[in-house]
Chain length 189, copies 2
DNA sequence: GCGTACACGTGATGC
DNA sequence: TGCATCACGTGTACG
C-alpha cells in the first residue's frame, strides 16, 4: 500500500503539492529555503575569500579558514609593528633624558670677567643655578648635559671654555625654553 | 520497468549493501565522507569565529562573513594608522631640510681680527668656502643653515657674531663630519 | 502538533 | 567508463 502510494506520488508529484497539498510540502519548501540560505551564505563567503583553490563546498570552507588565519596573523603583525614603532620612538626620545637625572649643583655661571648686559646698565654678578651632568661614552668621548639660565653670550663663552680646556665639540644640541638654556654636547678630549 | 526495479531495490535494500553490494554503496560512502568533510569544515570554521549567534549552518556562515569583514576593517585601520604615523614622522624629520638646498657662496670665514691657532704658530687668514642659507619661518624668526670648515673656536665666534647682531638663538643643532661643520640654527631678530 | 534544523540516501551532472 | 560533487526529497529529533 505504501509502495503504491509512494509510486503514485513519484509519478504524479513531479511538482509537489498537486494532490495531497499540505502533506510534506511544508517541510519540502522550508528545506529548500534552508538549502538556499546555506548555499547563498557559502557563495557569499567564497566571494570574500581571495584565495580559492576549488569551488567545492569543503574547499570553500577550508579556504575561508585559511583566510581568517591569515588575517589574524596580519592583524597581529601590524599590532606588533605599531607597538615596536611606538616603543622605539619613546625610547629614542627618552634615550638621553631617562638615563639619569640631571644633578643639581651650585656653580658660578660666570667664568670670566665679562658682566651681564642689563638694560638698566646695572652690573650683575649673581650666582646662578646650574644643572650639569657628564657621561663618558667612549675612551675619549663624553656626553655633557648642561642646563642653566639663558644669558646673552653665555653660549659662546661656554664654547670658549670648552675649547680652552682642549676639548673638541663633535655634536651639539641646544634648545631654549622658559628662559632656560639646555645643551647636550658630545665632546672629545 | 524502472519503477519496478526501483521498488525492488527500495524494498530489499533497507540496509544498503546486503544484496547487490557494490551497487550504490560506493557513492553512498563517498557521499558520507563528503558530508563529514563539509561538516568538519563548518565546525572548524565556527571554532575560529568568536561571535556566534546560533549554531545553525547558515548562521555560522553569516557570522564567519561578518568576522572576515571585521578583520578586514581592523587591518585597514591599522594600516592607516601606521601610514599616518610614518607620514607624520617623515614630515617632521624633513620639515626643515627639504625646503631648499643649501646655496654655495664665497665668503670670508674670518669675521674678526682673531687668527687661527695653528700648531706651527703660522698665522693663517685664508679664505674658506662657506655654504649658507637663511629661511624666514616667521615674522621675526629665521632658520639659518651654515656649513663650513671646522675650526677651533669658530663656533664660539659665530655665536658672538650672531649675538653682536642683536639676534637671539632659540635652538641649535650642530654636527661635525669630514672636518666640516654644519649648523642649523633657529634665531629671532 | 508545529516549525526548524539536520543527516541521510539517491539521481543527476561534469570531468 | 568511474569518480567526485551537488541538489533533492524525506525521515527524524528537538524545542
Amino acid at each position: 500500500m505504501s509502495r503504491f502510494s509512494r509510486l503514485q506520488r513519484e509519478s504524479s508529484e513531479i511538482y509537489p503539492g498537486s494532490e495531497s497539498d499540505g502533506y510534506k510540502s511544508k517541510n519540502l519548501v522550508t528545506e529548500r529555503n534552508r538549502r538556499t540560505r546555506i548555499k547563498t551564505g557559502l557563495f557569499s563567503l567564497s566571494a570574500r575569500v581571495p584565495k580559492i583553490s576549488k569551488m567545492d563546498k569543503a574547499a570553500i570552507l577550508g579556504d575561508a579558514i585559511d583566510y581568517i588565519s591569515e588575517l589574524l596573523k596580519d592583524v597581529k603583525n601590524l599590532r606588533d609593528e605599531i607597538k615596536n614603532a611606538e616603543e622605539e620612538e619613546c625610547r629614542a626620545s627618552n634615550m638621553e633624558l631617562k638615563t639619569s637625572k640631571l644633578e643639581t649643583c651650585q656653580k658660578g655661571c660666570m667664568s670670566s670677567t665679562k658682566v651681564n648686559q642689563d638694560p638698566s646698565g646695572f652690573v650683575k654678578k649673581e650666582r646662578t643655578e646650574v644643572q650639569l651632568e657628564v657621561d663618558q661614552i667612549g675612551k675619549r668621548h663624553f656626553l655633557l648635559k648642561f642646563l642653566c639660565e639663558k644669558k646673552r653670550g653665555g653660549f659662546g663663552r661656554l664654547m670658549e671654555t670648552i675649547h680652552s680646556l682642549g676639548l673638541q665639540i663633535h655634536d651639539a644640541n641646544i634648545t631654549t625654553f622658559n628662559g632656560k638654556f639646555l645643551n647636550i654636547l658630545k665632546i672629545e678630549s
